[in-house]
Amino acid sequence: MTIEFFFFLLINGVAQGMLLFVIASGLSLVFGVLRVINFAHGSLYMIGAFLSCSLASLLAGASFLHFLLLLALVPPVVALLGFCVEITLFRRIYRREHLMQLLLTYALVLIFDDVVRLVWGGDIRSVVRPDLLAGSVEIMGLFLPSYNVFILIVGPIIALALWLLLYRTRAGNLIRAAVSFPQMLSALGVNVSALMTATFMLGCWLAGFGGVLMSGLATIDLGIGMEKIIECFAVVVIGGLGSVGGALLGAVIIGVGSSFIQVPLSRLAIVFPFIVMALVLIIRPWGLFGKPER
């Protein structure tokens, strides 16, 4: 393996990881604040991807501006869908046991995935890449796909934005407080249900944003929702639920690992997240960032 190839795989892996981070951070935040693990997070991401494809063909243009439009318009729609789901369904189950919450979001997966199939059909959608990002770009002697470089720029921007939100705004402080000290919040006079709705919408926005990014990266089919939620689970097994920093680390590990494992075992690249999960569970069942029970 040449050193160029190594860096090629590494950078592509990090790009994949960044994309996964955008999506998984949404899942992690929602769990941290609402204490609900949203199985349907993958479905929402998929809806974002399919919406992006449809909107792209509607806009009928391949300029970068068109793509920015997709990034701007689609995630809020997904967030709005999340808002509807939260106020009609989630609110009823916050006090129920985890089993019931799990089953509720599972029901949503059944519904959403089938709705997507009905609305968009079973065909594979082609990639929605703007011309500007279609080719490759030369950076330090390496030829990298321009789109991956784009993700490498956008991903950290999102990460930074999230960090600023969580650590530099009042809303963010409330979110972090909700993650660590849920009982305190209502005592402080905070409108807890508004906070939960807002966090959920943020999580859905991130899922939708990830969906748009994915629509430009690879072809879209009906299986990507389930595929992504499992990858997200691998991320939170590694990084711990509720930790955005953990999600970043976990996502990059999964991304880079999947990238490298393609070399010896291309067909098994898809199982890399499972291998990681299995390994983490044998060695450190409480996750890399968690604490052992004893």
Binding site: I93, A107, L110, D113, M226, I230, R267, P285
Partner: protein
């Protein structure tokens, strides 16, 4: 506290139900081709009832929600398909090996999964279930991938009526076995672990070991169901391993009632009946079956989580009080 009248009533009810179940295929056989269709449907109901009850060992009695139970069902199905179609095995040996193979798969998957509890356990079962699906999907040369395995031989003696009876007998045997399991010391231990795993540990119970054993037992019954299913349809497909297949027993347990053994069987039968009815009303409605399942699950979770059996018990208690 069983009074002698209600105990006797129960016995009579059971006898009536059994008589109906055994007599049904002969009745349906009189109805010609429509009858054959319904014999096929009722056989499927019995097999899927076995599948649903097997999940409930883990879910209702064990307190652990598994989203990957189809992995064991599918293993049983493919083992029977492969052994009969590609290795020339007879039906009986293949059917015996199916639950054994499923038990092995359950042991491997279960070993990883029981290391976690609650949420993480469920996530992992989903992941491993999907992993198996992907592996089988990709192994085209061996399993036929997306196409599946077709044209599985069926011995002549297994006419529709005879196959129905075979499945019924197997189901009843398994049901009795599972009942004994639940009422045994092992069953009590599993239920105690469900209620309070920490306290169980403080009673000297190695909770992980017993949950794994329970998982394996449930998996073998699912594998048996899968083997029966594949012989009924004479094909095996990757759908049998898909995560949406895992949804069926979950739904059956919830609709029928999670805390009894008969609840999932009732739930499963109701759901299949519903599906057939919908098919009759409007062919295209079956297209949205997953949505219908999802909506039913939503309604049950929100308004009736104790299921049909639970509702029945509530009504009975109300009658007793008044």
């Amino acid at each position: 506290m069983p009074g002698s009248t209600s105990g006797k009533m129960q016995q009579i009810a059971v006898a009536v139900v059994l008589a109906t179940l055994f007599g049904l295929p002969f009745l349906l056989a009189q109805l010609g081709s429509k009858g054959e269709f319904w014999i096929w449907v009722t056989t499927e109901m019995i097999i899927m009832a076995l599948f649903a009850v097997s999940l409930n060992l883990i879910m209702g009695f064990g307190g652990m929600v598994s989203f990957g139970h189809a992995a064991f069902f599918g293993t049983g199905a493919y083992v029977v398909a492969l052994l009969m179609k590609k290795a020339g095995f007879g039906f009986v040996p293949a059917l015996i090996i199916a639950p054994v193979a499923a038990a092995i798969v359950a042991a491997i998957i279960g070993w990883f999964c029981v290391r976690l509890t609650g949420l993480y356990f469920s996530i992992l079962t989903l992941a491993f279930g999907q992993l198996l699906y992907l592996v089988v999907f990709q192994a085209y040369s061996f399993t036929g991938g997306d196409d599946g395995i077709h044209g599985i031989p069926k011995p002549e003696i297994l006419t529709p009526v005879n196959y129905y009876l075979l499945c019924l007998v197997i189901f009843l045997l398994c049901f009795v076995l599972m009942r004994m399991l639940i009422n045994s010391c092992f069953g009590l231990t599993i239920r105690a672990i469900r209620e309070n795993p920490e306290r169980a540990r403080f009673l000297g119970v190695n909770d992980r070991r017993y949950q794994l054993l329970n998982f394996i037992i449930a998996g073998s019954f699912a594998g048996l169901a899968g083997g029966l299913f594949t012989e009924l349809n004479r094909f095996a497909q990757t759908e049998f391993l898909h995560w949406s297949k895992s949804a069926e027993p979950i739904l059956s347990s919830l609709v029928g009632g999670m805390f009894s053994l008969v609840g999932p069987a009732i739930g499963s039968t109701v759901l299949i009946f519903l599906k057939i009815t919908i098919q009759q009303i409007h062919k295209n409605l079956v297209e949205v079956w997953a949505i219908i399942l999802g909506v039913i699950l939503l309604v049950v979770v929100l308004f009736a989580p104790e299921g049909l059996v639970g509702l029945y018990q509530k009504l009975r208690q109300r009658n007793v009080k008044s």
